[in-house]
């Protein structure tokens, strides 16, 4: 076995040192009833690297790959071009094969990029501080709801109908057995402002409300001004939790922090991450200084060493499970380390200028495509303002149309029936994301694919 360095001679010698005759003797605590004789049945024996590579490549080839076809899917996961240097750097063994930086003297590499990551996320979201990452946007979102409860000592969270339905489900699941109350509405496709329920939320906030959770841009691509909502939250002593699933949007639109959000959570996959069929992704979590001790997850902080040189350490860990156990702010331990590194690297490459230009490019391409598709007979563009994603109402079932295109190697968007199976009002709607990646040719193919799909 290529991964096992011990030779039989080594094993002999070591068993000798230990003073037993064979490996079985080392497992003597295992009840006889649970001892297996040979290798487990129903599983293959070891394979050469070549054979494994062949088998897995065969599976990989059975998927329709985004780079190989015109691609326009979004709804919480976006395809952006990630510079080659990002993947090169995160594969350095010193990053890839290290552990959580528990020994700071030999983990300054990890600690410093975490400090840089926290700074970038805080700056992007317009907040004071950010943590060292959560699993993904959906888990960051529910952690924000729990944090709001700790801060406000209230239990009622209002969820916007524009919040990603998976995020809503996760919040419901994790609060199901706690005494938290989750209030949600099913979204309506108001033309010009699909899923925009800011007004309704403002009215709904009461003295039991711990927080209001909104997404911007929302699941339909709509973007809204959250200032009034924030003001109302603060009047009522509730927190505004803003969710951002397309982080690139913050290069073009006002940050939630500037609009008054108290907690900003998000999905960071767009910067540095790939699509990866949904994971691993990158949970972003930012808030204001005054709430920092209620934050979930790891935090990296600056300090000095014995010789007075600047250095970094994990800090405020009395919030965390390994110190606080059942009183911890969260049970999270392993987070999204390496993906936050990819984010930090890609973000350093972009810089302020690159991010703004990239966001501008995304928006311009999306507007272009939206206008061309809206021009197709029977297609209605539902969005007023949007960033790089928008919703169309088709004269036919959205999922069917998308499937029809996929069979012709065009990945033309997400049929909302996929996300809202029980909501007939959304059955004909599709959400289309346009990033910097599609070529002009891809866009032409998309447009004719829609024309073709609707004409049959």
């Amino acid at each position: 076995m290529r991964y096992l360095p011990l030779t039989d001679t080594d094993r002999e010698a070591m068993l000798g040192k230990i003073g037993v005759n064979n490996a079985d003797a080392l497992f003597r605590d295992v009840p006889a009833a649970a001892q297996l004789s040979g290798p487990i049945r129903d599983l293959p024996m070891h394979m050469s690297e070549m054979e494994v590579e062949r088998a897995l490549s065969t599976l990989a080839r059975q998927n329709l790959t985004a780079t190989h076809v015109p691609f326009f899917l979004g709804c919480g996961a976006y395809k952006h071009h990630v510079p080659a240097s990002v993947d090169h750097l995160i594969q350095r063994g010193e990053f890839l094969t290290s552990y959580t930086p528990y020994q700071p003297e030999i983990a300054q590499g990890t600690l410093q990029y975490l400090f840089e990551f926290q700074t970038q996320v805080a700056a992007l979201t317009g907040m004071d501080v950010a943590n060292a990452s959560m699993y993904d946007g959906s888990t960051a979102c529910v952690e924000a709801i729990f944090m709001a409860r700790r801060v406000t000592r209230r239990k009622k969270a209002l969820l916007s109908s524009g919040l990603h339905p998976h995020y809503v489900s996760v919040a419901k699941t994790l609060t199901h057995f706690t005494d938290d109350e989750i209030v949600t509405q099913t979204p309506g496709l108001t033309a010009g402002a699909p899923g925009d329920d800011v007004a309704a939320l403002i009215d709904a906030i009461d003295d039991e409300t711990s927080c209001v959770v909104v997404q911007n841009p929302n699941i339909f691509g709509h973007i809204a001004d959250l200032s009034a909502l924030a003001a109302r939250c603060h009047e009522k002593g509730a927190l505004l939790v803003a969710t951002v699933t397309e982080i690139i949007s913050l290069g073009a639109i006002t940050s939630p922090g500037e609009m008054g959000a108290d907690i900003v959570v998000g999905e960071g996959q767009s910067i540095g991450g790939g699509l990866n069929f949904g994971g691993p992704y990158l949970g972003l979590f930012a808030c204001n200084q005054k709430h920092v001790r209620q934050m979930p997850g790891r935090l990296c902080g600056e300090t000095v060493d014995a010789e007075g040189r600047r250095g970094f350490v994990l800090t405020l860990s009395t919030r965390e499970q390994h110190i606080r156990r059942e009183k911890a702010t969260s049970n999270i331990c392993t987070n999204s380390g390496l993906i936050s590194l990819a984010f930090t690297i890609h973000m350093s490459l972009l810089g302020e200028k690159g991010l703004r230009d990239l966001a501008t490019l995304n928006h311009a391409r999306a507007v272009q495509v939206a206008e061309r598709l809206a021009a197709i007979d029977g297609v209605e563009l539902l969005n007023g303002p949007f960033f790089n994603e928008f919703t169309l109402r088709l004269p036919v079932d959205g999922r069917a149309a998308i499937r029809h295109m996929a069979e012709r190697n065009v990945l033309g968007g997400v049929g909302l029936g996929r996300l809202y199976p029980d909501n007939p009002e959304l059955a004909n709607a599709v959400v289309i994301a346009v990033t910097e990646t599609p070529t002009d040719a891809d866009i032409d193919v998309l447009v004719s694919a829609y024309e073709e799909a609707l004409s049959c």
């Binding site: 497992f27 009840p31 010193e94 983990a107 990890t110 990603h164 911890a328 392993t334 703004r356 029980d422």
Partner: protein, 526 residues
């Protein structure tokens, strides 16, 4: 002697020594590196972009007006910045990383290559099902491996890490009790358990109570039985436990728990010790998470990402979360929403969705690649070599260090020591750890588990060679000797050669600085 170019080819001044710092602060290949914000500029960028088409903005007046305040770097500077940072890290690729409970084993590069195949890395979670059949087949096949290796009938693939898996398991347990109309409130957790166990139980709204341990570092069965009762929903047990010991009475424990109408949650973080040799299903476990980033070697990546699939017994299977993959006979499908199983599905009682999309695909590919490479035979060997290495370390050190449970026989995959052998030296577990750093090692886990004073938990894993272990043992024995000879000053000063000496964690916590600020702002803030 001079060479043809007229330069000396000898060794120069042998005796010269240097004291003061260099101008740059660098020491040859040990390089200092500022924060990227200190070298970057807001007009600098490491990307080029096509010019955008001219369109009328549709941002609805929400255009960003204020600067973000994020300096950028050109690509050369970026590559150098992160390369220099990386060199301040220790990693498995550099040497022995015996961090107990973390299973720091070799990460095969084949797995990295496979995870990057466009067919896996570049597909969207919401693509039409027929366009991702290969991906679903992979998830299904990994699920088969996990169920077969654990001897359990069901597995939930979506949990994102071990702690998330614990949550998954406990939610299923809670759902099962609710279903029975018998919502119990208490979960029993041994003091030796990892912090995530009690934290998770609390997260699901349970009260956490301690399970007493016996003198051998195992669960005290009698005491447990005595405590079990109608209020106990579940027992969370780690097996092999965090002392690196197998629970010999596991079957009895499970029986007692079941008899009391409760469920057995097993923390599978230590599965590496028994993989391929023992199936938790045969021990009466109802739910167990598997850290793919430990036993199945998806890299830890400096803290993540991981993956924590959870296997379930028949009793809990119906409550498993969404989504899940199933084969309809003609193709694979993924069941994402409650609505999808009106048709009398086994999962009707699912407790729902615990994360967006379908789980850690990138980790699934790596884990399956790892499993196929080892095969059933190789995995059994993994467990045997992991346990062999740990016992070898235990028996090579227990004459000079204190092995609290050493007398009771072999350990599993971890060798546990207490700081008793340091009594009176004024030297602590921490000091030993820091001195190991100078020797070129990552220290063992310190001060965990809490049941042993000044714990040092050594987990070599199966991917260390005997030669590597012998050198590690030699280094440790030397340090122990030095400690006993009472050279406390030396230890208190360690590490000496690392990029940093000891860091002031007290200061960091007292006055938290959690982000960089532009100098001006920072001063203002003072």
């Amino acid at each position: 002697m001079l060479n043809a170019q007229g330069r000396e080819t000898g060794v120069g001044n042998v005796d010269a020594i240097v004291d003061e710092e260099s101008f740059t602060g660098n020491r040859a290949l040990m390089l200092e590196e500022p924060l990227l914000f200190e070298i970057g500029g807001s007009s600098r960028t490491g990307v080029d972009l096509p010019v955008p088409p001219k369109v009328e903005s549709r941002l609805g007046g929400l255009e960003r007006t204020r600067d973000i305040g994020l300096p950028g770097l050109s690509e050369p500077e970026t590559v150098r910045h992160f390369t220099r940072l990386s060199r301040q890290n220790y990693a498995i690729d550099m040497g022995v990383f015996p961090l107990g409970s973390c299973t720091m084993k070799h990460n095969p590069r084949l797995n990295e290559k496979m995870a990057r195949l466009p067919g896996f890395a570049d597909i969207h979670p919401l693509q039409p099902i027929d366009s991702v059949q290969g991906a679903l087949a992979l998830i299904d096949s990994l699920a088969h491996w996990l169920k077969t290796l654990t001897g359990m009938p069901e597995v939930a693939m979506s949990p994102k890490a071990g702690a998330h898996g614990e949550l998954c398991g406990m939610l299923a347990i809670r759902a099962a009790h609710e279903e029975r109309g018998d919502p119990r409130k208490v979960v029993l957790v041994p003091e030796s358990a990892h912090g995530t166990n009690p934290a998770t139980a609390a997260f699901c709204g349970y009260e956490v109570e301690d399970i007493p341990a016996n003198a051998q570092g195992r669960v005290d069965l009698a005491a447990l039985k005595a405590r079990l009762g109608p209020d106990v929903a579940a027992v969370m047990i780690t097996n092999p436990n965090t002392c690196g010991l197998f629970e010999p009475e596991m079957i009895e424990i499970s029986k007692a728990v079941h008899d009391a109408g409760a469920y057995v949650y097993c923390d599978g973080a230590n599965f590496n010790a028994i993989v391929g040799r023992v199936r938790p299903g045969d021990l009466g476990v109802d739910a167990m998470h598997i850290n793919l980033h430990k036993t199945f070697s998806t890299p830890h990546g400096g803290g993540g990402p991981g993956a924590g699939p959870v296997v379930f017994s028949a009793a809990l299977a119906p409550f498993a979360p969404l989504p899940f993959v199933r084969h309809t006979g003609k193709h694979f499908e993924i069941v994402e929403e409650e609505q999808a199983f009106e048709k009398g599905d086994a999962h009707r009682q699912s407790f729902g969705r615990m994360v967006a999309f379908h789980g850690q695909m990138g980790m699934f590919v790596r884990a399956l690649s790892y499993m196929m490479s080892h095969g059933a035979d190789g995995l059994k060997q993994v467990a045997e070599d992991a346990v062999l290495n740990a016992n070898y370390v235990l028996r090579s050190l227990d004459d000079v260090m204190t092995a609290p449970f050493g007398a009771d026989g072999p350990c599993m995959h971890e060798a546990l020591f207490s700081d008793e052998f340091l009594d009176g030296t004024g030297i602590s577990t921490l000091d030993i750890a820091k001195a190991l750093i100078d020797e070129g090692y990552h220290p063992m886990t310190m001060y965990f588990p809490l049941v042993v004073h000044g714990a040092m938990l050594v987990e070599p894993t199966e991917t260390e060679s005997k030669a590597a272990l012998d050198q590690f043992i030699g280094a440790l024995r030397t340090l122990v000797g030095r400690a006993k000879s009472g050279d406390a000053d030396f230890f208190k000063g360690a590490p000496y050669h690392a990029p940093r000496r000891r860091l002031d964690e007290t200061l960091a916590a007292r006055r938290p600085v959690l982000r960089w600020m532009p100098p001006a702002v920072a001063e203002a803030a003072e």
